[in-house]
Symmetry: C2
């Protein structure tokens, strides 16, 4: 391959985008001839890098009946290739003083290592190798399935909060793969075989379905020849389209109760379906500001009203995450003060929401929220791994490098009127967006049904 590099390198250099104005992160981008996209976020404070490969495939791309396969497959990626023994990938990273891991989302699967910059070529060599040469010995295939089943037992079956989240999601994201847990349903994890998993790998793992994202003490100029050498040699594939049905509109209001022995303190949960940044970038930004204005710390209205003034809750939070190829969600969680029922707490939360819907938010609330969000972006810029995470997540959920770079400016441009309008559009219980939220009460175990009287 060496003879080919200079010519390709010249071609690739033309694809490098050089943003004209100052950006938050100063990310540099390029695309290899085989379609693999590269994002480099230079940060020269220390001679270290975070190297990530993000695949545009996640739990929402699994076939019906094969839930959890993307995550299980992520585990298998550590179990050996034609030339690297099971476990040797991570051992090598650790021997070089680095650390590595991976994670699976609904829309992406990501692998990452943080290490001293001189070891970048070795990481790329190994990461490119497992993109195409995976060869898991059957014994590991079986034992890793038990690892995943145990992971599900511990994190979900034995954790009522996660169990309830899973069940509330399944009631909200009707007809859509986001209704499935990323780790998969127990009965389905058990049944898929190596052939199914291999097909998943053969279908989705390809350079043209991946982003290489590197942050730290490098520049695109340094990265590009290495990327071309290791990843550029891989053959692209014909990729299938990602099948994502629509969530049908509904008007039935859903409420769920989960009674569980290990719950000591009841809690209130509410899950709304919301537009994602991929669906509506402007509204997603506005919802970020709305969330921050209503519940970004102890000075904001939800905490002030329910915890400080009325003393009806010991905690309350609202959280919107717009990073999704399809639908996003907004959670409200609250813990009642001693002696306060969840019904009472819910009605008081509904009053706060009605106020926001009817009266909007104040200029001060919105401007303070924007300031806090911008401050957080400054902190994010200083980390080595953080920016790689931010860019990888954005581009694999339908957003762009430009949107990330311009995020602080775009957030600053959101007006109080827009935030108030978003409250009206997305939080009004009389006119829910797409479908009403699912409300959940997580409760200590008890006998909720009256005994027979005879």
């Amino acid at each position: 391959m060496k003879n080919k590099i200079p010519a390709l390198f010249l071609l690739l250099a033309l694809l490098i985008s050089s943003p004209a104005n100052a950006q938050t992160f100063g990310a540099q981008t390029a695309t290899l001839a085989n379609g693999m996209e590269i994002i480099v976020i230079p940060n020269h404070r220390a001679p270290v890098v975070t190297h990530m490969v993000w695949y545009k495939v996640g739990a929402a791309d699994e076939l019906p009946g094969s839930s959890g396969m993307a995550h299980y497959f992520e585990h298998l990626m550590f179990k050996g290739t034609k030339t690297i023994a099971p476990g040797a990938f991570s051992q090598t990273v650790r021997a070089l003083g680095g650390n590595d891991n991976a994670f699976t989302g609904r829309d992406f699967t990501a692998y990452f290592q943080s290490i001293a910059k001189q070891h970048l070529p070795k990481l790329m060599e190994m990461e490119a190798d497992r993109m195409v040469n995976l060869a898991v010995p059957p014994a590991h295939f079986i034992s890793e399935k038990n690892v995943v089943l145990e992971e599900r037992r511990q994190r979900t079956e034995n954790d009522p909060r996660n169990l309830f989240t899973e069940q509330m999601r399944s009631a909200l994201f009707v007809n859509h793969p986001y209704s499935r847990p990323v780790i998969g349903w127990m009965s389905e994890i058990k049944i898929y075989e190596w052939d199914d998993v291999k097909k998943f790998y053969d279908t989705w793992y390809a350079p043209n379905n991946a982003y290489l994202v590197i942050s730290g003490d490098v520049t695109l100029e340094e990265v590009l020849p290495l990327a071309e050498k290791y990843y550029g040699a891989l053959t692209p594939k014909d990729l299938p389209s990602r099948i994502r049905p629509e969530v049908p509109p509904a008007n039935g209001r859903a409420h769920m109760n989960l009674y569980h022995a290990s719950i000591k303190q009841p809690s209130f949960q509410r899950l709304y379906i919301m537009p994602s940044a991929a669906m509506n970038e402007k509204d997603a930004l506005t919802l970020q500001v709305l969330e921050e204005a209503m519940s970004g710390g102890s000075t904001t209205r939800l905490y002030q009203s329910l915890v400080v003034n009325q003393k009806k809750a010991t905690g309350i939070s609202m959280s919107y995450d717009g990073s999704a190829l399809d639908y996003a969600s907004l959670w409200i969680s609250a813990t009642p003060a001693l002696g306060v029922s969840l019904e009472e707490l819910e009605s008081l939360i509904d009053v706060e929401i009605a106020k926001a819907v009817q009266n909007g938010l104040s200029e001060t609330e919105v401007q303070d929220a924007i300031q806090r969000l911008q401050d957080a972006a400054v902190y994010a810029r200083d980390s080595v791994a953080g920016p790689a995470m931010i860019f990888g997540r954005a581009v694999t959920t339908g957003s762009t490098v430009e949107n990330v770079e311009n995020w602080t400016d775009n957030i600053a441009a959101i007006t109080t009127e827009e935030v108030s309008k978003a409250a009206q559009t997305y939080l009004n219980p009389e006119t829910p967006w797409l479908r009403p939220p699912v409300t959940g009460y997580l409760l200590p175990e008890e006998k909720p049904v009256q005994e027979a009287e005879e």
Copy 2:
């Protein structure tokens, strides 16, 4: 084809099953060489027949994102073949003094005609023709889509009861195609194209994926040469397996409220997931008896307690349908008496259920229920079309001809202990089977959320 008939006929005659003992319907069965199965239920009271073709494909076999295709396709089957003009199929049936129609379920699609027996060959000729020669003109493809969309508007969007049923099902049958409405989601009906529909037809419509079920004034001996002539000439296909994921267990109790302007009278609904006859034949029979014992008319305990004695409801019913390839369901519906809240009604229904779970049912209740069920079977036998419906539905949902024939004997064998045990197993709210039921309140429109106070 004529020369081939005698030899094939001989072969086929060997496949005819002749039940040794007296059966309820006296059904006769055979299988054509191409895999098409035949059930004939003779009834010689009048010189008429009901001719049905049942395909082993339904709404639950649709691909994600293509809900409603089985039903839409059923409409298109009336829109012409290579030799029969759009609409001419039904016109021909009517011109011969008969009537025809079709229906789509989750596990099957069925086409039927009732007509004087001498016209059976013509029906078979036309039905066999559209099994393989469908050729729908594009204009009809488009106009029929509007017919289906309008059907959904009228029957679902504008009918809060059906809308609520749809939404309760989607909350119960998590991760399973039974969560989808047979007619499909509006947004998905709109998008499939002729190529998708043609692929559905090419995949599933084949003689080896169909049952021919004929009831009325014929015998298998008369039917077989005709069936061989018309259907036996068709080529079988390689059929895909039917992908049916499992419903994952859950313990969160779901409650839904639907407020709707056209609801004048509130109602209580509860939907349980239950084993089907295909899953557990014995338990399905027992659940039929349990349902009949608890709510089979005005003398049974639910009606007596809630309507007659306590006067808290004006109506109450329990209904179990075990005909499903996968999961079955049990509904409880009730209408409160004037001034009774749905909360109060629900707690009283829960008391009745708790009594059945804890104390079981009485010998008299169970024996009376069995008698009523057996009486109903006798009536069913006398109808012409009824038996064809019963057999077609049974065999396309995983049951057998033998089970239908022996149904009255099998029902008679159910004991009071078994019925009481079924109440404990399937209705106990403390230990739900697989997952708790979804409870629904259908309510007149109102503002359920408190207004802001300022």
